[in-house]
């Protein structure tokens, strides 16, 4: 059989057997997957796992992104969104202003608000609670997903409370889940080079685990295509997998494609299309205990994300509105994709589009008949 022959030629026969038998892949297997030049063969393997879990189902969500502040004291070299405290270009949305942005789209059947921002040392603990309350009030039926683990670390610092107490307060104010950002790459070396002021890998994982134990599910990300190496990426994936074994609180893994434009490391060329697809496939193969793998089209380009539906991805994110973080450095990216465009892409790829809410419950079809906002 030619597919088996091709897998053998690519040196993937034993990994193929593990995948078919449902066995966990080792870190060494992960390294070999990164080293395998046969890209479609990786897609073939990842697709076995994807179809085993989800068949043709491809999820999308209608969400609105709100970035409440761009002021940040973390100075990460890979970021073009932040400005330092005291910079004239800095902004903070007051809770009412942030809520007004949500009300702007009151007619659009959005099911999720995705809200993140910089680590702004000026903001008091009460600000975050008020922000959540205002957002929830503006759109009570929308699921509120907010604050990366990095922001949570800051919120805990100013709250002077335990993580458990902070999560209880945030939940009471309306927080329902936590996005996966800020993980970058779990590596001391990369951490020292690119984001030394931020919480390190183990802090990130500890906060995630605490969130899960407090009843807040989260996502997990990995920012690739800058200075990281393969060993560091495999370590990142295996650590995520270990924490997931303990808590089961991760919903989705999202590999994030680095965009160098207008960052401090803009001399780097940025990830290639093959790497974008490779990260999706290896994420699907290594993270056997993660239910979902998302391809974030706003960073990958919709062309790559559509192909990724055959490389392990079962979630195409959504019709994003107002995503400011990569808009700053990647203006060519479309900010919104109308629902029709998104569905056309999924259908053309031979998959079945299914609208989900933030917790991957199906959104009843009756509410999906709408005119596109974009």
């Amino acid at each position: 059989m030619i597919f088996d022959q091709q897998l053998e030629r690519a040196g993937l026969t034993d990994i193929h057997k593990k995948v078919v038998d449902g066995q966990r892949l080792s870190a060494d297997d992960g390294l070999r997957l990164y080293g395998c030049p046969d890209l479609p063969a990786l897609g073939y393997l990842a697709n076995l796992v994807r179809e085993g879990r989800h068949g043709d189902t491809t999820y999308y969500v209608r969400n609105q992104h709100v970035n409440y502040t761009n002021v940040c004291n973390k100075l990460c070299k890979f970021c073009s969104f932040y400005v330092k405290p005291k910079d004239d270009r800095g902004y903070v949305l007051e809770p009412e202003q942030a809520a007004a942005r949500v009300r702007e789209y009151a007619d659009v059947p959005i099911t999720e608000i995705h809200m993140v921002g910089g680590v702004n040392p000026k903001l008091p603990y009460q600000y975050y609670l008020d922000l959540l309350l205002a957002m929830k009030q503006a759109r009570p039926e929308a699921h509120l997903k907010a604050f990366t683990m990095i922001e949570i670390a800051q919120i805990q610092r100013i709250a002077k409370k335990t993580l458990e107490e902070v999560f209880a307060d945030l939940r009471a104010a309306g927080l329902e889940s936590i996005p996966g950002g800020g993980a970058e790459v779990f590596s001391e070396r990369v951490h020292e080079d690119l984001f030394w002021t931020k919480a390190d890998s183990e802090d990130w994982l500890e906060i995630a685990a605490a969130a899960h134990r407090s009843g807040l599910p989260s996502n997990a990300t990995m920012l690739y295509g800058h200075v990281e190496n393969t060993e560091e990426k495999v370590y990142h994936l295996t650590r995520l997998r270990e924490v997931q074994d303990e808590t089961g609180g991760f919903l989705t893994y999202i590999p994030l494609s680095f965009h160098p434009e207008r960052t401090e490391i803009d001399h780097l060329p940025g990830p290639t299309g093959q790497l974008d697809l490779r990260e999706v496939a290896i994420g699907r193969l290594m993270l056997d205990n993660f239910p979902h793998i998302k391809t974030f089209w706003i960073m990958n380009t919709i062309d790559i994300s559509q192909v990724a539906l055959w490389y392990g991805a079962n979630d195409l994110d959504g019709t994003v509105m107002d995503y400011e973080i990569t808009r700053k450095n990647f203006e060519a990216t479309q900010q919104r994709l109308t629902q029709k465009d998104l569905l056309d892409r999924i259908v053309e790829a031979g998959r079945e589009p299914v609208e989900r809410d933030s917790l991957y419950n199906l959104v009843p079809a009756a509410t999906t008949h709408m005119t596109d906002a974009a």
Binding site: L39, T272, Q274
Partner: protein, 386 residues
């Protein structure tokens, strides 16, 4: 679902029209890629992706054909029409040679233009022989079937004699442009004044008969059906069976910006073909065109990401460095500025291949291109544009 086709591929058997139809309907692109990759590996076992040092020179934009998918042409009489003076063409070639070096026939000029009623056979004979005389390192990979048919008509000569005279003047090989979709119903809709399917094929047949090498292309993603794409591939494969003169197949999708067809909802549905469609079309082409050696990446239209991914879908060549491109770029494609040789080499190596320079006949070229010279050309081009 495609086990029997996979079996045929495994045994090296020729695929049928119906096989191609089923492959197009098979959404698992990773599987299509694996099949195409198997064929590509069989034809080219070495882990090498080639590229070519070349420049597109568009000697005139005056064209009376007015194809509705084209944003490059200007009708005769337009203020914006031009024909490049010889000195300017030779100046562009000087820049190319400074970049590519002196190895014989190692630098490709792809010189194409509109169907300009003022330019007859003597114009081309003079230009080609001048270039041949001054630039032994240059391969004149010029014109298209469409231009040659027109030159023959203007000069009231048979096609074979026209091609022979062009060859004798210095034309080395002929690019496959103007094929679009080789189906007369489609041609009627998108560019009704253009040559017919059989006329396009005849030019290539005659050139192959004269011992010349040509390439074949396909422009898809406009009004054609999947069956018409396969019909196109079938025509190319049939002609290739006769004399084997096609060196490579190159495909790209219709770029709608600033074209009449792109603005006409009666004819075009507004859906620009996707990267997904590109990859499966590349893979099916690799599988169906069993008698064509090379497939080129389409980075100008697809951009660096999908172009690189296509290396896993049957593509073994990254095409030309294209120091200059004007035609597709006029219809909104902006990837020219994304790509230079350094970037191209990185994409090839990142995909796990060794990059090697070739000439138009796909023979390896030992001379390394001079990147410094390239930077000078780009700087001058930018200065001229601003």
């Amino acid at each position: 679902m495609i086990q029997d086709i996979a079996e045929k591929v495994s045994l090296g058997e020729r695929l049928s029209f119906d096989d191609a139809r089923r492959l197009f309907a098979h959404p698992n692109v990773a599987e299509l890629g694996m099949l195409a990759n198997a064929v590509r590996r069989r034809k080219h076992p070495a882990s090498v992706v080639t590229y070519n040092v070349g420049r597109n020179i568009n000697y005139t934009n005056v064209c009376w054909v007015k194809c509705d998918f084209c944003a490059f042409y200007r009708a005769p009489g337009s203020d914006e029409g031009y024909t490049l003076p010889d000195e300017e063409i030779l100046g562009k070639i000087d820049e190319l040679v400074a970049f590519g070096g002196q190895e014989p026939k190692s630098n490709e000029i792809l010189m194409q233009g509109g169907l300009n009623p003022k330019l007859r056979l003597d114009y081309y004979e003079r230009l080609f022989s001048t270039i041949r005389e001054h630039y032994p390192s240059v391969q004149q990979h010029c014109l298209s079937a469409t231009e040659i048919i027109y030159i023959a008509k203007l000069s009231k000569l048979p096609l074979a004699e026209t091609i022979e005279r062009l060859r004798d003047a210095g034309l080395d090989s002929i690019p496959g442009a103007g094929a679009e979709i080789l189906n007369d119903d489609v041609r009627d809709v998108i560019g009704f004044r253009k040559d017919r399917t059989q006329e396009w094929l005849d030019v290539h047949r005659i050139a192959h008969g004269l011992g010349m090498r040509t390439t074949a292309t396909m422009m898809y993603g406009h009004v054609e059906t999947i069956d018409q794409r396969i019909e196109h591939l079938q025509h190319i494969r049939d002609v290739q069976d006769e004399k084997g003169g096609f060196t490579a197949f190159i495909m790209w999708n219709f770029q709608p910006d600033a074209t009449d067809l792109g603005a006409d909802p009666e004819r075009w549905n507004g859906m620009k073909a996707t990267g997904f469609d590109h990859l499966r079309t590349v893979a099916v082409s690799r599988l169906f065109l069993d008698n064509i050696d090379h497939l080129q990446a389409s980075w100008v239209t697809q951009g660096p990401k999908i172009a690189q991914v296509s290396l896993g879908y049957g593509v073994d060549d990254f095409g030309s460095t294209m120091l200059e491109e004007n035609v597709v770029s006029a219809a909104g494609t902006s990837h020219m500025s994304d790509m230079d040789l350094t970037h191209m080499l990185r994409l090839i190596e990142d995909a796990g291949y060794e990059a090697r320079r070739r000439n138009t006949r796909y023979e390896m070229v030992a001379t390394a291109p001079q990147l410094d010279a390239l930077h000078n050309v780009k700087a001058q081009a930018q200065a001229a544009a601003s």
